[in-house]
């Protein structure tokens, strides 16, 4: 923990001695490289200013210099805990540009993969959130089940975390019988597992004291701060992109959108726990529907090739002084010019992709609106007046991933 303490005296009432403390960027409970600039009166937070950018990799700039399918690989590295969801968001935007129709089987598979990503993300959130607050056992239980999901992912596409599984116009590989059976087994066992976690912390007195009444957001402020996903729903606004602007196969399946009442850390925890059950329900329904579409295609016929055609690359005699060895020749228009906006309900909130095409092989501009970025911007507001120890709970409840935030 890097602590730089600075004491400034503001002796108006004689008691005010404000501490200025840097928390992070290498603090274990900031879940990455988040730096918080704190002004403290004793242990009470007067001002909290998050400082980000330590994990900035310039995904938006890089995407402008890569082909459309190649940007999907970068999307994995945004929110690396739920990379399938990011892939879906990118593909939806590109498909809108191409006006592609994705086959039903592919849409069902995407829904399943998206919900699997949600479950694995929520499990990791619960594990680390509980660990930060002091409950070690939950961590082990959650990782046991997350491991199972990751091994299913491995069977689906060969990768455990950064699976570029979804591609423009469909998915890369079909589900085999073995995967369907394994997933079925998972959905049968999982509801009992959720009960296991809940018995550990749901009525645990320490858990309740650490989470109830912490970082309360009323619905009006939550919208104003731009909060989305479980954080917004914890405040009682049932905004879920899956219901409001259905994509993939979400209009075919039945599920509920759980909402909280008080808008505190405990309600957001409850919302996520209920969401786990709904995700499980969605996977179950989709698996049944997969049986109906046996043997149907998983890729649209007009889907672009993974390597978009470009002019034959002429070897450059020496690297371009500004651009290195990046191909600078003329490109054949493949993606029609225009713009497209697609947003999905990623496990952390609303993930929106806005892409502008000029008709070339590379996006002209690719804008990614990530939930973590907005949630961190709201942290200063949420942390005001709380104790330093509660800050750990607030970081946990917002479900931050710094890769998602800094891009």
């Amino acid at each position: 923990m890097s602590l730089c303490v600075e004491v400034s005296k503001k002796g108006q009432d004689g008691r005010e001695e404000l501490f200025t403390i840097n928390m992070g960027p290498h603090h274990p409970s900031t879940h990455g490289v988040l730096r918080l600039f704190l002004e403290l009166d004793g242990e009470t937070i007067i001002k909290c200013e998050p400082i980000i950018g330590y994990l900035h990799r310039g995904v938006e700039k890089l995407s402008e210099n890569l082909g459309y399918p190649q940007t999907l690989v970068l999307s994995d590295r945004l929110d690396y805990i739920a990379s399938a969801a990011n892939n879906v968001a990118f593909c939806l935007a590109f498909e809108k540009l191409l006006s592609l129709k994705v086959p039903r089987r592919a849409r069902l598979i995407r829904t399943i993969v998206g919900e699997m990503a949600r479950i694995s993300s929520h499990l990791l959130w619960l594990a680390t959130h509980a660990l930060d607050i002091g409950a070690m056992t939950v961590f082990l239980y959650c990782f046991r089940d997350r491991e199972w999901l990751l091994s299913i992912f491995e069977k689906i596409c060969g990768a455990r975390l950064t699976h570029t599984y979804v591609r423009i116009g469909g998915v890369r590989l079909d589900f085999t019988e073995e995967i369907i059976e394994e997933l079925k087994k998972f959905t049968e066992v999982f509801p009992e597992r959720i009960l296991e976690y809940e018995t550990l912390i749901d009525v645990n007195r320490i858990w309740l004291k650490r989470t109830k009444g912490i970082a309360v957001v009323d619905p009006e402020t939550a919208l104003n701060l731009g909060l989305t996903g479980p954080v917004l729903r914890g405040s009682g606004i049932p905004y879920d992109v899956r219901k409001f602007r259905p994509y993939d196969a979400y209009d075919e399946v039945e599920f509920e959108v759980p909402v909280g009442k008080n808008g505190d850390t405990y309600d957001r925890y409850r919302v996520r726990m209920l969401e786990l059950r709904q995700s499980n329900r969605i996977i179950k329904q989709c698996l049944e529907k997969l049986r109906e579409t046996e043997g149907e295609p998983i890729l649209a016929e007009e889907a672009p090739d993974l390597l978009l055609p470009t002019k034959v690359r002429e070897p450059e005699p020496k690297p371009h002084p500004k651009k290195g060895f990046i191909f600078t020749g003329k490109e054949v228009p493949v993606i029609p010019p225009g713009e497209a906006f697609a947003s999905i309900e990623s496990p952390k909130g609303e993930l929106a992709v806005y892409v502008i095409s000029d008709g070339g092989t590379n996006p002209w501009r690719l804008r990614i609106r990530t939930p973590s970025f907005v949630h961190i911007s709201a942290m200063g507001e949420l942390a005001k007046g709380h104790m330093v120890a509660d800050l750990i709970a607030i970081i946990g409840t917002l479900d931050l991933v710094l890769g998602d935030c800094d891009r």
């Binding site: 950018g53 104003n224 731009g226 602007r245 806005y354 502008i356």
Partner: protein, 170 residues
């Protein structure tokens, strides 16, 4: 949606330059009347500002764009489930735009990022600093004339100083 668009056209005919029906209903708005249009939209239920981003159109050939920069907003109406895109052209020689921080707190960081990446100034922003790049960074990375790779002479000062420090100590 159509009702709203016609209403907008009647009320703000001076400011709204264009209306387009793309994948999302789009209005192109002058920055002079922008704040009026947006406060009207917020009163009409567009309470969720999904996104705010800058765009650099230098060398864009697919469509004729009058100004080099643009700021693109996406608003969402939760009750009526409407999505609206508002585009504001920003000229190159005078890159500024009105800030939305008084209406949406979430605009604060979005605008800082837009300033960081494109150098568009936001009037009325309480704390316009770089956010993703280091504070002493030079240039605006997402502009089209900013190169993908820099030569060693043009590298960021902070990195060079860091290297000097490390090598000097050894």
């Amino acid at each position: 949606m159509e009702k709203l668009l016609t209403e907008l056209k009647e009320l703000f005919s001076n400011f709204i330059l264009e209306q387009k029906e793309k994948d999302v209903p789009t209005i192109v708005c002058q920055r002079e009347g922008f704040l009026k249009v947006v406060s009207f939209l917020k009163e009409r239920g567009f309470k969720h500002l999904i996104d705010l981003c800058g765009v650099d159109y230098q060398g864009y050939k697919a469509e004729k764009i009058s100004e080099r920069f643009g700021v693109v907003y996406h608003f969402y109406n939760l009750e009526e489930r409407l999505l609206l895109r508002v585009k504001v052209p920003v000229p190159e020689d005078d890159p500024w735009q009105y800030s939305l921080t008084s209406l949406w707190k979430t605009a604060n960081w979005f605008e800082r990022e837009c300033y960081d990446m494109f150098g568009i100034l936001f009037k009325g922003h309480p704390d316009l600093r770089r956010i993703l790049m280091p504070e002493d960074w030079e240039g605006y990375p997402l502009r089209k004339d900013y190169p993908l790779f820099l030569s060693p002479e043009e590298e960021w000062k902070g990195y060079k100083e860091f290297l000097k420090q490390v090598r000097g100590e050894r």
